[in-house]
Symmetry: C2
Subunit: 381 residues, 2 copies
């Protein structure tokens, strides 16, 4: 078997890692000018100013960009890049959830290259030479945007797009659990379950390999142990750190092998009505897990053991218990009440979901898909 593992970014982990933001950024910015892409809620909470001061205190000129809302849009990335270019930034720092991090990553291409990221959508053009380095600081434990080469954004018509290049990976990731403590319990659970599914799918789809499994299994072990602890004690920094690490390693794994059926169901649902990504992914995983566990490849068995299960047959019960202990209720929003199983299935069968739908050794037939869709939709409040 021949397989590739991607570059894995350097990290600084643990409580207080954020205290190193200034000096670490300064070491990556010879020109002393940094574009700071941050979640607007950090600003709203008064938590952005101290970070700007930390960067300024290390001798850096800071251009802050917080013009984000929901998933990143091409116009927002272009605006962030324009601000960075005008300031002569030679480093991009991204702080926030997956959207802020993806915007920061894509700006590292748009500052030296094409001003509009649409140039790089779906690999339309190769990345420019001289991508800027980035330093990323996740404030949620979920997407793994900090460890993978993909940026997700939407175009002018609202269509979900991607840009991909190994050079989009950050030079350094700060993983500070204290930054994730204020995340509400439901969102913490959705993000962690999303990361769990990243790891599980990367470890079990047809493209998996030993290089990805190392990180995926590590992520599964971390998340399964830490999620219930965080639900019980949201301030437990050790458990929060384990979730952050789990999300990072799950990102490493999907960077190598991609996702599968649960993500096809999640993306299909998102195409029909707004729904939090982690929630939709967890629902997609729950409704398809019985089907998957009934087809236990050696990889599914190994992933089950990484979760602490005796084998694949125990997975559905294990997942139910994990979700229950996460403290979150998994249900589609009311907007899905009128959606038919046929409509969701059609969305899942669309060209954008096809690679995920066919990622397992066996592809579910239409009747099976309709059953998954109906089970997901039955959760709509």
């Amino acid at each position: 078997m021949r397989y590739s593992t991607g570059t894995i970014p350097a990290t600084l982990c643990g409580p207080g890692a954020i205290d190193r933001l200034g000096p670490e950024a300064a070491a990556l910015s010879p020109a002393g000018s940094v574009l700071l892409v941050a979640d607007p809620w950090l600003q709203a909470q008064g938590r952005l100013a101290p970070l700007e001061q930390a960067l300024a205190g290390a001798g850096l000129r800071v251009t802050a960009f917080t013009g984000l809302s929901g998933e990143p849009k091409s116009t927002q990335v272009a605006a962030a890049a324009a601000a960075g270019r005008a300031a002569g930034a030679d480093l991009v720092v991204g702080i926030g959830g997956g959207s802020a991090l993806d915007t920061a990553k894509l700006a590292t291409a748009c500052i030296p290259g094409a001003p509009d990221p649409m140039a790089y959508a779906l690999a339309a053009a190769p990345m420019p030479p001289g991508l800027l380095p980035s330093l990323l600081v996740p404030t949620t434990a979920g997407t793994g945007a900090e460890s993978c080469a993909t940026c997700i954004f939407s175009g002018p018509d609202g269509r979900k797009l991607w840009a991909w290049d190994p050079g989009l990976k950050p030079r350094l990731v700060l993983l500070d659990p204290a930054l994730t403590v204020s995340l509400p319990r439901d969102l913490t659970a959705f993000c962690a379950l999303d990361a769990f599914v990243h790891a599980f799918e990367a470890a079990t789809n047809a493209r998996t390999h030993p290089g990805a499994a190392l990180h995926a299994h590590h992520a599964l072990g971390l998340i399964c142990a830490a999620l219930p602890r965080v639900a019980e004690a949201p301030g437990d920094l050790a458990a929060r750190e384990a979730l952050l690490l789990g999300a990072f390693h799950a990102g490493v794994a999907i960077d190598m092998c991609g996702t599968a059926i649960a993500h096809a169901l999640s993306h299909g649902a998102a195409a029909l009505a707004p729904v939090q990504h982690g929630l939709a992914t967890a629902l997609g995983f729950g409704v398809s897990l019985g089907w998957l566990a009934a087809r236990p490849t050696p990889q599914v068995e190994a992933a089950a053991r990484a979760c602490g299960c005796a084998g694949a047959a125990a997975l559905p019960g294990f997942w139910e218990a994990l979700v229950a202990r996460s403290g979150a209720t998994l249900a589609l929003p009311a907007a899905f009440r009128g959606v038919s199983a046929e409509a969701l299935t059609r969305a899942v069968e669309g060209p954008e979901c096809a690679p995920m739908l066919t990622a397992h050794a066996e592809t579910p037939d239409r009747e099976t898909l309709l059953g998954f869709a109906a089970a997901m939709l039955a959760t709509a409040a």
Copy 2:
């Protein structure tokens, strides 16, 4: 606990990975000119020409450098870099054991920077901007030179020196087990035991952390399972691949946490008379393992479990069996017959070995060190 993990290079693993040498190198060389640093025995075996042809076939101009003998010397690195600079190389490919790879890594600094690597010895000067990318292909499974930021070389006076920078890590590593098959049994065992000790020491010294332990434990599991298989069937490519992966991950781990007492004993011995590095390291590990196992920190216990032992107490017996099954005889060369335990102990106590000597939670006292030295020297044929 706060800790750092370094960037981990991308890899292409498995039998036939070397077939990708041309296209992968071409993708890293916009200028189309590559410096190829290769072990002279590859040339002697007629195995260099096909590699040069593969690079040329991908449209690259190739400047081959094979002027290596034993551990790399600063004059050799300078000669390799001069050849690369004269050819306008914008990529360095290194193929061979640790010496060829370290020479290649250091040339990535000396081509754009100071012509003599002594400028970078012991971090005398910072690395120049614009380090060239490298692509490394190990033909032994041992040093982990392909996954770490350190280059070992000797200066004009023969003193062992190092250069270190994260930018010295390769852009891509090809891990092809077929390239290691022709390595003789003793050398295969010495290299694998060296990698085992890298992993064990990185997982158990006082600087260890969870980020390093992930890779160190993975390496221990791989090497313990594969080394006896390779000794029994040298052509077993799956076992050879596991050793290569084990050495790679062990290199990742020491890159983060460094080594310990066995390496102090090994370096001390090497300062007194010529001895193969892996052999000396394995001997140093064997004579000090009982002392270490009698002080079982949680990290030593975890490393023992990664080897498949029930606990630290089982380690000395496990090691003895592993060495026996490796097919190699661990004995210092005859040149050590006249060396006293006092002389070896003094060498181990020297400033160059001190960081390794004091790397454990407890530092062995002089009497203990004399005992280790005597036990090592007792093996001299």
